[in-house]
């Protein structure tokens, strides 16, 4: 194994190789302060407004793929071997505007203009993937972009018109694709990247391991190292909480953690699989999670954030854990001394404490396939429908046989210090008829399972009442389909 003390990436059409990179330097600060590429804006510094949206291309398991990301919470060190595309890259040699830009101008898609470069980049990523998007696809692509001026309507109109201004096959990301692939391929060296640079509180060091073995060795030899995959949470530790996280191990680029294996009985997901990458498998095998999935973060966060990270960070709310726990998922942790597997629900011990030794990392999540006769649903309630953190997230997996409930796994996030099973509710359901009366009788059991907290996302009273009502919704949705029981946005996501 050779060590490399530099990172290398493409920035638009330039090759960058740097050794003096700090672990906590963000891509946004690098672009604006060091490169004076000021088209990328800072709006919130926490991945919630999208003004800093850029595209990042990477040689993944399926070849070169570009995704929109938030530059404000993307650490520069994690970009080793990537192609970073900023708003400045859309400039044509002849000064003409890119089709996305021209559509935005002609449809009056900008007012103050500050969110606009980020919106152009999100629409660019969408257009490259889907040249004729539906309203729902456009809304989904813009979930991570705030605009405070326009009310979005002209932006939606612009997004639908882009293809009348040009063809994706003429785009530089298509015409120069082979060149980019060749460059990124040439950089693949299986080396362990080890970079150190001085920061405001002393030296900062980061590693980019190429293999799980390297990762395991690093964790064994660097106690307290911070493992960073998508950085959608750790980015805020640094930007908002001023936390020192060095040494850092960036694993977002490790293809070995991005495998998805499907057998007849189960789906095994590498910890580095992003929310976006999981979508096709989720749609096929766990379609009931679909609605939740499109409400996790915005597109940029789903492109960066990983299922493994969502579990490992131990959020009391979690977006994926309640659904995964109800499905009976297991977790495999790995260290230099081997692997161990445990039920996901046992991983969350109490608030802020998980069953992970400091030298272990989450390697895979295994989710049993759903069986006929079992009913599933995952519901999320939040103040704003999209790109908001759940007030309550409830996951139901209930088996019904001959109109009797034989098994029930009900898990809630946002109701306790960890994602937690509703044991009393489950007991009140099992071996009871699948009936309105059973559901009504089980509702009070929520009070035994949860004593939720008050915060800005909801009062304890609201959380408890809506959790009970979600059980009612679950029943009505499966047993009494004569009336609508949920709001469906007519332009809903693809």
């Amino acid at each position: 194994m050779v060590n490399r003390t530099t990172i290398r990436f493409l920035l638009n059409d330039q090759i960058v190789e740097r050794s003096d990179v700090r672990a906590t330097t963000t891509l946004l600060d690098y672009l604006r302060l060091e490169r004076r590429l000021t088209g990328t804006k800072e709006g919130c510094n926490e991945g919630d407004c999208g003004a800093c949206t850029v595209m990042v291309g990477r040689l993944g398991p399926d070849g070169l793929e570009y995704h929109s990301v938030n530059a404000c919470i993307r650490f520069l060190g994690s970009l080793d071997g990537c192609h970073v595309v900023t708003i400045e890259h859309l400039r044509r040699d002849d000064g003409a505007l890119h089709p996305v830009q021209q559509a935005m101008v002609d449809y009056h898609g900008s007012q103050c203009g500050f969110c606009t470069p980020g919106i152009v980049m999100s629409l660019y990523a969408l257009w490259m993937a889907e040249p004729s998007p539906t309203d729902g696809e456009i809304e989904t692509a813009l979930q991570g972009n705030l605009c405070r001026c326009t009310g979005y309507e002209p932006i939606i109109r612009a997004a639908k018109a882009i293809s009348s201004y040009g063809n994706t096959k003429d785009d530089p990301l298509v015409t120069e694709r082979e060149t980019v692939i060749a460059q990124l391929e040439a950089w693949k060296d299986e080396a362990l990247v080890d970079v150190e640079a001085n920061g405001p509180t002393g030296p900062e060091r980061f590693f980019v391991p190429a293999t799980p073995d390297q990762l395991a060795d690093l964790l064994a030899s660097h106690d307290g190292a911070t493992v960073v995959a998508g950085a959608t949470d750790v980015g805020l530790w640094v930007n908002k909480d001023h936390r020192a996280i060095s040494p850092v191990i960036f694993i977002g680029g490790m293809n070995a953690l991005q495998s998805i294996t499907v057998t007849d009985n189960e789906v095994t997901v590498g910890a580095g699989v992003s929310y976006s990458r999981f979508v096709p498998v989720m749609k096929e095998h766990f379609p009931h999670m679909s609605e939740l999935w499109w409400r996790i973060g915005g597109e940029q966060v789903r492109n960066m954030g990983t299922i493994g990270g969502n579990i490992a960070n131990g959020s009391p709310i979690g977006d994926s854990p309640p659904g995964l726990i109800s499905l009976g998922a297991t977790l495999t942790l790995r260290s230099a001394s081997g692997t161990r597997t445990l039920p996901l629900e046992d991983f969350f011990i109490t608030y802020g404490k998980q069953d992970r030794r400091r030298d272990e990392f989450v390697e895979t999540i295994t989710i049993p396939c759903t069986k006929p006769g079992t009913l599933h649903a995952v519901y999320k309630i939040s103040k704003r429908k999209d790109e908001d953190i759940s007030a309550v997230c409830g996951a139901f997996s209930v088996s019904v046989s001959a109109n009797m409930i034989t098994e029930a796994r009900i898990t809630f996030g946002g109701m306790a210090g960890t994602p937690k099973r509703a044991q009393s509710v489950e007991e009140a359901l099992i071996n009871k008829p699948w009936s309105h009366e059973t559901i009504e009788a089980a509702r009070p059991a929520f009070e035994a399972d949860y004593q939720p907290f008050n915060d800005w996302r909801g009062t304890s009273e609201y959380r408890l009442l809506s959790a009970k009502n979600l059980l009612t919704r679950f029943y009505l949705e499966h047993a009494d389909t004569s009336h609508p029981v949920r709001l469906e946005r007519a332009v809903a996501a693809a």
């Binding site: 600060d29 000021t38 088209g39 990328t40 804006k41 709006g43 919130c44 510094n45 926490e46 919630d48 900023t86 708003i87 859309l90 505007l97 830009q101 935005m104 009056h108 898609g109 900008s110 007012q111 103050c112 203009g113 500050f114 969110c115 606009t116 470069p117 809304e139 989904t140 813009l142 979930q143 405070r148 001026c149 326009t150 009310g151 979005y152 309507e153 939606i156 405001p200 509180t201 805020l236 930007n239 908002k240 001023h242 103040k383 704003r384 429908k385 999209d386 790109e387 800005w456 009442l465 809506s466 009502n469 919704r473 009336h483 609508p484 029981v485 949920r486 709001l487 946005r489 007519a490």
Partner: protein, 784 residues
């Protein structure tokens, strides 16, 4: 203009980009490429230092000990400034009440108040150092809400206002029917995408150049001079554009500019300050929350007989603009409705929260939605469609000269077109049939319920601080025929520069592309008013037209003399000047005029005529005219979770004869969505320590694209012409459509009311979060 010239005029092609045309925003091509420079994009001089604020973590108390040694010794720190370091004054109270320190001096009055400023080599180092302060406080009990402040006998931050017509107390006693209510209305953070920022560059002597993201460069200039002890003439404030303002940069920019300037003066180098988003939201004021108590008398038809109401506002620790904001709430407590007897009182009460400030509508929305609540309450009490009650109470239409046209502030409404607007919208949206269909749907749908509401808007245009209704402009015409335009308004996305340039292009009859739009700067146009109160194009458009006309008049006089032609036979059209039978290009005429020593530069000025206001008496004509609009919204709610969606919204809005329909439609759409956010998902939440916990987009939720009404139609009222002589007979557009969002609240209210067969008007405070909707649904259920 004689007939001959008129004929010629018709033969000449129109210019590109004159008034009443849909022209794109002048910076659109730079917005989309990222080339539009905001203050943070201005290249900084060598050696620029960075300032960052240190904030209090006590809501009310006296600073006991303040140990800043660890801040000073932190890496890269050059200096730490406290209140004592302000050279001439530590006060930046915009209304001169001396109640707003730059940095807290001994006393802290809200959690997050700036106490000191670190100056360091980089922003990151300054930010890190600011965390290291060790401050202890002698803490006192605090009051963060109106109710707590009332209970603690907190003072008013400024003098309250009373509006009175007739005898409301007596009329209430004798009213046919009577109801009382209490309405809590939430505040709102501006959440401009570009946060506050200032870059101060020191010059010779007292000179100080400040780049500031501000809607009010003249006030920043004044405050910087005041704090430094420098004359205003030495201070120049410059802003090319803001990444959104919405009122949040009317007074709130002062603090940042003052700190940057003080540090720049002290150290002789440029200093930049830009708070992180969370600190921006913690340290700057917001829309005022209100608690309104009302007492209403009405007859069997739902006609109002009397309204008595108190409007208490969470003002925060200082006055800032709370006086005029609470005044404007009272000015709009009638919305479009005539109140025969009325007594309205404001209660601008002090609280231990950040000092609240201007925000699009400026208190007007809080007043207006109370009127809408009252109409709903009366309608439910009588079992009527709320639209019927609204109609019964409209001010009489244009032309009527009776008492039913007189507002609570004794101004007669002479331009009322609300009947036309509402009738047209009701018809075009098929309101009645859709309402019937919803009533039928709700009968058969146990979980999902729908609602629909049509609400009107009447909004008064002019600053109620009458002296603010003035503007200046500066125009230079160069020898090549290019035109340099500068005016006192600021560009924050609203398209002001585009509109004013269209006016100038129209005066000279040259293509818009030949008019250069330039940064607002206090050394070109002095003593400007804030770009606020929707007044930007009304005031600055007129001032620029005035300046352009002066130059045009000189050119006409020159041409008349030069070509021995009557001035009446000279016409500017299509980039040319018709002089009798001769045509000459604009640039050629300009160049010839220059050679004959014609003055090609002019300052323009405008003041709004006919307005006056006596606050002590509560009478006058504070508004030059009114803007009107109406909205229909249809919503669905989930009665299990309180979640909802807006299924359809139709807006019809009056902008007079639009200067730029594309930009005006953008303003109407954007204002509606921003108003909808205020009334639905945008919630300010303080914890038990008095600390605001919703201070970033992760916790404070403004609307997304997917929150738009599923069907969203916006139209400008056709054929409308401002009855007053405004700039090309247009009307102001920035604020009035914000209040169209009241339709969403009342539609949600109807959906909630359906749970109990519309027998009672739901108590539904704002913002109507899913939680508030669910809890309102629960309250509608018969108690067990």
């Amino acid at each position: 203009m004689n007939e001959h010239v008129t004929e010629l005029r018709e033969a000449i092609a129109d210019i590109k980009g004159g008034v009443h045309q849909s022209i794109r925003h002048d910076s659109a091509h730079k917005h989309v490429t990222g080339e539009a420079d905001y203050t943070d994009d201005v290249p900084t001089p060598v050696g620029t230092l960075h300032a960052y604020l240190g904030l209090s973590n006590c809501a009310n108390g006296t600073i006991d000990t303040m140990d800043l040694s660890k801040v000073r010794s932190s890496l890269g720190v050059i200096d730490v400034l406290t209140a004592q370091d302000m050279p001439a004054s530590n006060d930046i109270s915009p209304t001169h009440l001396h109640d707003e320190p730059v940095l807290a001096d001994g006393e802290v009055q809200f959690y997050g108040q700036p106490v000191f400023a670190v100056i360091a080599e980089s922003r990151e180092l300054a930010r890190k150092a600011a965390q290291k302060a060790e401050i202890t406080y002698d803490e006192r009990p605090f009051a963060h809400s109106v109710d707590e402040a009332r209970a603690a006998n907190y003072p008013m931050v400024t003098k309250p206002l009373t509006l009175k017509r007739g005898d409301a107390p007596t009329a209430l006693e004798t009213a046919t029917h009577r109801l009382q209510g209490r309405y809590e209305i939430g505040g709102q953070d501006h959440m401009y995408l570009e946060g506050h920022i200032a870059l101060a560059i020191p010059g010779e002597d007292d000179d100080m150049l400040v780049y500031s993201s501000t809607q009010h460069p003249s006030e920043v200039q004044h405050m910087v001079g005041h704090v430094l002890g420098a004359p205003s003439a030495a201070v120049t404030v410059k802003v090319r554009r803001m990444g959104g303002g919405f009122g949040g940069k009317e007074t709130q920019s002062n603090q940042f500019a003052a700190i940057a300037a003080v540090a720049a003066r002290k150290h002789g180098v440029a200093v930049k300050i830009r708070p992180d988003r969370d600190d921006d939201m913690i340290t700057t004021g917001k829309r005022h929350d209100f608690v309104v108590e009302y007492d209403v008398g009405y007859d069997a038809e739902g006609r109002i007989e009397a309204v008595q109401a108190t409007f208490a506002a969470r003002c925060g620790f200082s006055a800032d603009l709370s006086g005029p904001v609470t005044d404007r709430a009272l000015f709009h407590a009638d919305n479009a409705y005539y109140y025969p007897n009325v007594l309205l009182q404001s209660e601008p009460i002090k609280t231990n929260t950040v000092s609240n400030t201007a925000f699009r509508g400026f208190g007007g929305p809080q007043g207006l939605i109370v009127a809408e609540r009252i109409m709903e309450e009366v309608a439910y009490a009588l079992g009527k469609d709320p639209l019927e009650v609204r109609r019964a109470n409209f001010y009489d239409p244009v032309g009527a000269e009776n008492a039913r046209c007189v507002t609570p502030y004794h101004q007669t409404v002479t331009d009322n077109i609300i009947h036309t607007v509402v009738d047209e919208l009701e018809r075009d949206t098929d309101y009645q049939a859709r309402r019937d269909a919803i009533l039928a749907f709700n009968k058969t749908s146990p979980i999902i319920k729908k609602g629909i509401a049509l609400t009107p808007v009447k909004f008064g245009i002019s600053f109620t601080a009458t002296w603010y209704n003035q503007a200046g402009a500066l125009i230079h015409v160069y020898r090549d025929g290019s035109v340099h335009l500068n005016h006192g308004g600021t560009e924050m996305g609203q398209g002001l520069n585009t509109k004013v340039a269209q006016v100038v292009a129209d005066v000279f009859q040259i293509d818009l592309a030949r008019v250069s739009i330039t940064a607002t700067t206090t050394d070109k146009v002095p003593n400007t008013s804030a770009t606020a109160a929707s007044s930007g194009s009304d005031l600055n458009g007129m001032a620029a037209e005035n300046a352009a006309n002066q130059i045009k008049d000189r050119l006409i006089a020159f041409a008349a003399n030069e070509y021995d032609t009557a001035p009446e036979a000279i016409l500017f059209a299509g980039n040319e000047i018709q002089i009798g039978t001769k045509r000459i290009a604009f640039a050629d005429l300009v160049d010839r005029a220059y050679m004959k020593r014609v003055h090609l530069s002019a300052t323009g000025f405008y003041k709004t005529p006919d307005i006056h206001w006596d606050r002590d008496k509560g009478t006058g004509r504070p508004f030059y005219y009114f803007a009107y609009g109406a909205a229909v919204s249809e919503v669905s709610i989930d009665t299990l979770t309180g979640e909802y969606q807006v299924d359809q919204t139709d807006l019809l809005h009056d902008v007079g004869k639009s200067l730029n329909p594309a930009i005006d439609i953008g303003q109407v759409e954007g204002a509606f969505i921003q108003g909808m956010g205020w009334l639905t998902t945008e919630e300010l939440w303080w914890d038990d320590t008095g600390r605001l916990r919703t201070h970033a987009p992760s916790t404070y939720k403004i609307p997304l694209a997917s929150d738009r009404p599923i069907k969203f139609n916006t139209r400008l009222l056709q054929g409308s012409v401002n009855r007053e002589k405004t700039i090309r007979r247009s009307k102001a557009v920035g604020e009035p459509p914000f209040m169209l969002a009241a339709s969403v609240v009342e539609a949600l209210s109807m959906a909630v009311a359906s749970v109990a067969d519309y027998k009672t008007c739901p108590k539904l405070d704002t913002p109507c979060t899913p939680e508030r909707i669910l809890m309102a649904v629960e309250r509608m259920k018969p108690s067990a």
